[in-house]
């Protein structure tokens, strides 16, 4: 046991409508009570269009649903530094958090589609199969923001649902995932 590799999906080949979807029981995905902690590693996620990298989930009451029902409350802050050293920042991002909203949760904003841009990082989801507790999540992503900024984004919160979660969808807010690989692990 330990950090157990479950599966990986790479865009564009594994993409479904431009997104990468991990659903329990499909394509070798295990997303149930086998583990009480799951991690998703994002490697060089590259957007078709300048946009935000984000996720949403479906619970077991909404199999194959539209990733538009689960309510999320979250925090999001970020730090960035411009390549020419002219600007630095640390601050809370009001526009990237959610308050009991069923929208996609932004993990990295304004990822540019310039050829060498993109974002990488890790999302941890705790005990998605619990029918007692809300589902905590924590992510840290590094991105190239509007081409000339190095940006680190800290997002965390909970999916306010005591129904088990068994599907998660990753996508950019504008256009398809042009390239990138997501590795899924169970933490045993």
């Amino acid at each position: 046991m330990g950090l157990m590799f479950i599966t990986s999906k790479t865009a564009p080949g594994d993409a479904d409508s431009g997104a990468l979807r991990f659903a329990d029981g499909e394509d070798g995905v295990v997303f149930d009570n086998t583990y009480n902690e799951y991690q998703f590693y994002f490697v060089n996620m590259h957007p078709q269009n300048y946009s935000n990298f984000q996720f949403q989930v479906n619970d077991t009451d909404d199999p194959g649903g539209g990733f538009d029902v689960s309510l999320i409350t979250s925090t999001h802050f970020r730090t960035y530094h411009k390549e020419d050293d002219s600007e630095t920042h640390l601050g809370y991002s009001d526009g990237h958090d959610l308050a009991q909203e069923a929208e996609y949760q932004i993990m990295a904003n304004n990822v540019d589609n310039v050829a060498d841009n993109g974002c990488s990082g890790v999302l941890t989801i705790y005990d998605p199969s619990s029918i007692t507790y809300v589902k905590h999540f924590i992510s840290t992503l590094q991105s190239q923001h509007t081409t000339t900024y190095s940006q680190q984004s800290f997002t965390a919160g909970y999916i306010n649902d005591t129904t088990a979660i068994d599907e998660i969808n990753f996508k950019f807010s504008g256009g398809n995932i042009d390239a990138g690989t997501i590795y899924m692990y169970g933490v045993g």
Partner: protein, 189 residues
């Protein structure tokens, strides 16, 4: 193969089905691994408005009062969207203090509320350096997620051999029990 990129080894898994005042891990922390991770899943206190905290000790000592200097950042956002914050928490840090080091904010015992996160401890067996640690913890209470980013060092050059987890109050004093939750300890190669 992707799964060879990192391979934590689970050394100790403690699941509390009944309330316990402390979770003490007194073996397995040695020079075998340079980095240790402690993963917390759905930690629940028996007393609402409690905070998960830790302390460490050396040798076979059991006082758990090592000196810690730390920094503590917290961000929060309530479900009603009435407020959000990113702030330094001056009442969570220590300056060579020997209290329990808080890992997050209040957790309530309110049915679906709990706290989850990770504490990473670097080179605990070093006989040369102080012991750095970094934690990220999400606590849910009072209809608000509060996410804490705490870091610091245990100010001793003596090897750390044991760690204690406990619920504390705002003043860093032990309070109530750990009612439920799982703590997993990994050695990271």
């Amino acid at each position: 193969m992707p799964h060879t990129l990192i391979l934590p080894i689970p050394l100790d898994i403690t699941t509390s089905d009944t309330a316990v005042s402390t979770v003490d891990i007194t073996s397995g922390i040695d020079s075998t691994y340079p980095v240790y991770e402690f993963h917390f899943v759905n930690m629940v206190p028996s007393t609402s408005a409690s905070i998960l905290a830790f302390q460490v000790d050396v040798g076979t000592d059991t006082t758990y009062q090592q000196e810690i200097t730390s920094t503590t950042i917290e961000t929060e956002h309530d479900e009603g969207d009435s407020g959000a914050a990113l702030q330094y928490r001056t009442n969570r840090d220590q300056a060579n203090g020997t209290n329990y080091q808080q890992l997050g904010e209040y957790i309530y015992d309110d049915g679906d509320t709990s706290g989850s996160g990770i504490l990473t401890l670097y080179a605990p067996s070093s006989g040369t350096y102080v012991k750095h640690w970094i934690s990220t913890f999400s606590a849910y209470g009072n209809a608000t997620p509060q996410i804490s980013y705490h870091t610091g060092y245990i100010n001793t050059a003596t090897a750390i051999t044991r760690i204690r987890f406990v619920m504390v109050n705002n003043a860093m004093a032990a309070q109530g029990d750990i009612k439920a939750g799982t703590i997993k300890m990994y050695g990271v190669t």
